[in-house]
Point group: C2
Chain length 358, copies 2
């Protein structure tokens, strides 16, 4: 059913594929690192499982492998970056670096990006800020799969938000989550097992409760975080909307139901109101607020207090955002990354196109 | 059961109470405006219903009616404000103005606040940015009532987030929500009706599902947005944590379970790691990213498209964040503000202390 690969095996393969589609060496390097960060952290839907999807977008002429990424507008604390249709895996680290550089100068930096593509896991980009003793923020809009509260129309993507906050002796706080009750990747896992979803994850094309893991293929929709109005879905809808507006309306990318779809076989929407996908990044220097050591001391105290919060019966401990991903990363560094058969087959096929073996 | 008051009646009464406890005229004016904005917008739990609570905190020496609010640290795009124990209703607009002024200079402004108190509705402060063609962001930590995922201990407040985004012909986008499935005010409404809550709002002291609207008085806890792990409560827990850290760890306020409680009869926690409650504000100039007219045109398009998303059976229309509150505000401007009997009685009692009649 599945096989285990070392980080280096997957790295070498993925890097060669990016080189084969025409990426420069530095671009292929960063794209590979971002993609594999997902596999290492257990967000398997956003790692090498997407490599063939990126290649198909390139084949369809929807990804520019040699982008001229540019700052098109800026102030001391802000910028708009045009990704020139490049891989989001390359455009996003460029833009996050702009945010970090601005924060070095004036305390914080905020960058909205247009004309990009899927950028892998939001957490990678937010975590870039940590080495600089900064808090990092990353978000992106995405293909519309989510119905707003009271609606049956797919208007928003799963629009994730990541926030990475440095600590001292403790590992950093790293939240990285879709603004829906469940991310699409969770449905894909259940599809492979022929299992149903819990109630509250998705609705069918008429807006009725659904437990069908394939409901998105039948014009159903994912539900915003909160699931229904009585449990706060209007809050998840608002969060997804904020991500869409900061990422795309602010930058001049295509927003809402017009966000360009990831699957290359889905046609680009008519009358797109902007260019490509949009992202939004933020970096805040800790010492723009408070001495870094003092902050880290209190952040350690915060983390220790929450880690030691009294667990409910049947639970061993309370987790800090970022704990499960970091723990899995440590395991996978040692024992390798398990890849399911269907993904392996796709990778082999992609490799054959370019004469690259897995 | 309830009586209706005009805005002016409540304004005059509330203003006089704030003057009576020693506020300056400008401070009493802004405090009254912020408090009544909640009543006008239908967030009745945060309006005059809280006035007696503020007075009790003042009587207990926990609110300073004559604060020296100060910027204690700053960079071109950031500041930390010390509220000197003042009313959050006064400290918050001061700090938001600092954020707006910084945004005028360098594109964005970000202000973390310590040594403050409850600040009314987050939406009021975020909306201050709108007149300047800026996006406004406001959040605050609060008394611990919320258990993290897998925990039975109250570690976080309902920690609201507000985001206000200007539009052109359309009214602005204004999201303002607690990071829990239901705000505490929702439980209070059900208590008055002797009704149960839906499942998923709260848990009892052992972490078991509860529908008891009085469960918080029995050591139960509110649940983070998402309700349970299977429906994304770890995301609501992460959001509430981010609000706590940005508001309190960044500024030097008291965080997590040590946040000072609003009810004056609840003792201040021992060993508080910081001063008072914390808030966090942001202001982003639209034209720091894109020409304002262009942005507003696309924001109108965004709002119109979402407003016209196909509604589910049984629903008339899809709402934009801010629609319900704005519509209610227009109604209450004309027909007045209904106040329940128990709140009227409390107001009368507060008035008697200072010789102010309702």
């Amino acid at each position: 059913m599945q096989q285990t690969f070392s980080y280096d095996q997957l790295y070498n393969f993925t890097f060669k594929i990016f080189i084969s589609i025409g990426c420069s060496e530095p671009d292929a390097t960063i794209a590979t690192k971002v993609l594999l960060a997902a596999d290492m952290r257990g967000i398997d839907s956003h790692g090498v499982a997407r490599l063939s999807g990126y290649v198909r977008l390139w084949e369809a002429g929807r990804i520019n492998a040699k982008p001229q990424i540019k700052i098109v507008h800026e102030t001391p604390s802000t910028a708009v970056v045009d990704g020139d249709g490049g891989l989001g895996l390359v455009v996003a680290p460029f833009a996050m670096q702009v945010a970090i550089d601005k924060a070095k100068n004036v305390g914080t930096g905020w960058v909205s990006v247009r004309n990009s593509n899927h950028f892998g896991i939001a957490g990678y980009h937010a975590m870039m800020a940590l080495q600089q003793d900064m808090t990092g923020i990353a978000m992106t809009n995405a293909s519309a799969l989510v119905a707003p509260t009271f609606s049956i129309e797919r208007m928003l993507g799963t629009n994730p938000i990541a926030v990475a906050i440095p600590a001292g002796k403790q590992p950093p706080f790293v939240a990285d989550f879709a603004t829906t009750t469940a991310a699409n990747g969770k449905l894909e896992i259940l599809q492979r097992k022929n299992a149903n979803t819990p109630l509250g994850w998705a609705q069918d094309k008429d807006g009725k409760d659904s437990v069908d893991a394939n409901v998105l293929k039948k014009q159903g929709a994912l539900l915003p975080l909160g699931s229904d109005r009585g449990h706060g879905s209007h809050k998840g809808y608002a969060l997804g909307s904020i991500v869409d507006i900061f990422s795309a309306v602010l930058s001049g990318a295509s927003y809402g139901p017009w966000a360009p779809p990831f699957p290359a076989y889905v046609p680009i929407p008519d009358n797109m109101p902007g260019k490509g996908l949009g992202h939004f990044f933020g970096a805040m220097r800790i010492d723009a607020f408070r001495p870094t050591d003092e902050f880290k001391h209190h952040m350690d105290n915060w983390i220790e207090r929450f880690r030691n919060a009294k667990p409910a019966d049947g639970y061993e401990r309370v987790l800090i955002p970022g704990d499960p991903e970091r723990e899995l990363e440590n395991i996978r560094l040692k024992t390798g990354i398990p890849i399911v058969e269907s993904v392996i087959n796709e990778l082999i096929q992609v490799g054959e196109k370019f004469g690259v073996t897995l």
